[in-house]
Amino acid sequence: MKNRKHSLTKHTKEIAIRNLFGFFAFLSVLLFGLILVFLFREGLPLFKQISVTDFLFGTAWYPTYEPPEYGIWPLIVGSLAVTFFACLIAVPLGILSAVYIAEIAPGGIKEILKSVIELLAGLPSVVLGFFGMVIVGPWLQETFDLPTGLNIMNAAVMLAIMAIPTISSISEDALYAVPREFKEASYALGATKYETIIRVIIPAALSGISTAVILGMARAIGETMVVLMVAGGAAAIPESIFDAVRPMTASIAAEMGEAPFRSGHYHALFATGIVLFVITLAFNLIADYISNRFRETGSGTL
């Protein structure tokens, strides 16, 4: 075997593989760019008809009227409203359950709860939408004597169920990442478990928890089927938590099927998609920024 040939070809093969793999890995970036390109390609033509401000801040969404009106302000408000109220429910539940899993729960319960949250994350959104329609809706309607149980409240509850797993599991990771020495130092100073959790552990994990909350919000604002089925569908600015709304995602999903190909309506729905895309992208970039900054500075600066 002493005559093993040393071939440059072997070398080049390795480099070729590396580059090929690099190209396929880069495909994710390309696809992301492609999404951007095609959203704009189909969405931008709208702005030959109306201005960006009229689109964003117009309060009338009558895409099928003659002449049509494409103001998505009510849709944006609808998205924000359901997201806000969903977070009111999901943030405390998500963070507290994460604290329970990471710091308090005994081994067996911890494993069970982790599976529960994983299964909850796996529930298809259409199932939650369906549940909201057939159970939560009629119940709300009866209890509060409403004209419809399909409203912000209903959507917020169902969206919260979708956001909880995101918030909980990411917060849990952040809590686990808190160095043991912090906890031990706190206990050694005579702090109770509660004080240690509130004063030491949660502050140390705060950036991770913030990331979790932001990603949970992004998840809620981008969620489609739930709001499509239970938010009520009224494209008007809501006045109470029991009003029906039409979030952006619901509008896109409900109307795209009927919008004539490359009509103003069709373009307006893609333009709404751009707005949605930009909002969720911003959320994700902020979350990314927070968690990266945290990683770079590390625990030493806390």
Binding site: M1, R4, L8, K10
Partner: protein, 253 residues
């Protein structure tokens, strides 16, 4: 008689990022002899060893200066394929690290990939390597069993057999018996003694007696520098440098 040096390093500096782990190391390794590298923990023994078969390539942010020559050829020259270097310079690690495969496949894995297809040749290679590593009698009936079921000492000999199956010229051993019991250690030392007829062996060890027992040459490192390189007998009886003596006699620090 002119000595035949198979591996030589010339003024080698090595950096992990900004940290200089080796400075100005020049040492020649004689063919078919055992050379031991000794020195306190963190002095750069493993670093030097891993430089010799370009394993440090795997660590990001490292830098080599100076030359390392294998039979006169600089192994860090741009046109050199590290794969070829590693085929000629095998390595045995501190902790036994067999693959989660059968004993047989652990041995045949690398030779097959290097192009041996003839099944008789492969089988002969398995037996020969295992015999050389003094493991054949223990495993000849369980070749298809997972290597993970072997004892630590057996696993380490399997790792040696696996390296031998590539028929390298040089074998690097980084504290090969430090994780093993005394009996396994004795077996490994025995087999090193027989291997040196055909192979050049460079071994890192913390065990002075081991170095004295098995090696012809010894290099003493301290803080990234080669303090003394000499015949083992000389190093252990009458070293040239005071530091070496202090270290060997345990009066160090």
């Amino acid at each position: 008689m002119e000595k035949d040096f198979i591996v030589r390093t010339k003024n080698v500096d090595f950096f992990y990022g900004a940290f200089r782990a080796l400075s100005d190391v020049t040492v020649d390794f004689e063919k078919n002899k055992v050379t031991a590298l000794i020195g306190p923990s963190g002095c750069g023994k493993s670093t030097l060893l891993r430089l010799l078969n370009r394993m440090n390539d795997l660590i990001d942010g490292t830098r080599v200066e100076g030359e390392i020559l294998l039979e006169g050829r600089n192994i860090y020259a741009p046109d050199v394929d590290p794969v070829e270097i590693r085929q000629r310079i095998g390595m045995v690690f501190q902790k036994p690290n067999p693959f989660p495969k059968s004993i047989y496949n652990n041995i045949t894995y690398a030779p097959k990939l290097s192009g041996i297809v003839d099944s008789e040749e492969i089988e002969a290679l398995v037996e020969e390597s295992l015999r050389q590593a003094v493991l054949w009698d223990e495993v000849k009936d369980i070749l298809t069993k997972s290597a993970m079921t072997l004892s630590g000492g057996q696993q380490q000999r399997l790792c040696i057999a696996r390296a031998l199956a590539m028929k390298p010229d040089v074998i690097l051993m980084d504290e090969p018996s430090s994780a093993l019991d005394p009996i396994s250690t004795a077996k490994i030392e025995e087999l090193i003694d027989t291997l040196k007829k055909h192979y050049t062996i460079i071994i890192v060890t913390h065990n002075m007696q081991q170095a004295a027992r098995i090696s012809e040459y010894t290099g003493f490192f301290y803080l990234g520098k080669l303090i003394e390189f000499n015949a083992t007998e000389k190093i252990f009886t009458n070293p040239d440098v005071k530091q070496t003596e202090d270290y060997i006699t345990g009066r160090f620090g």
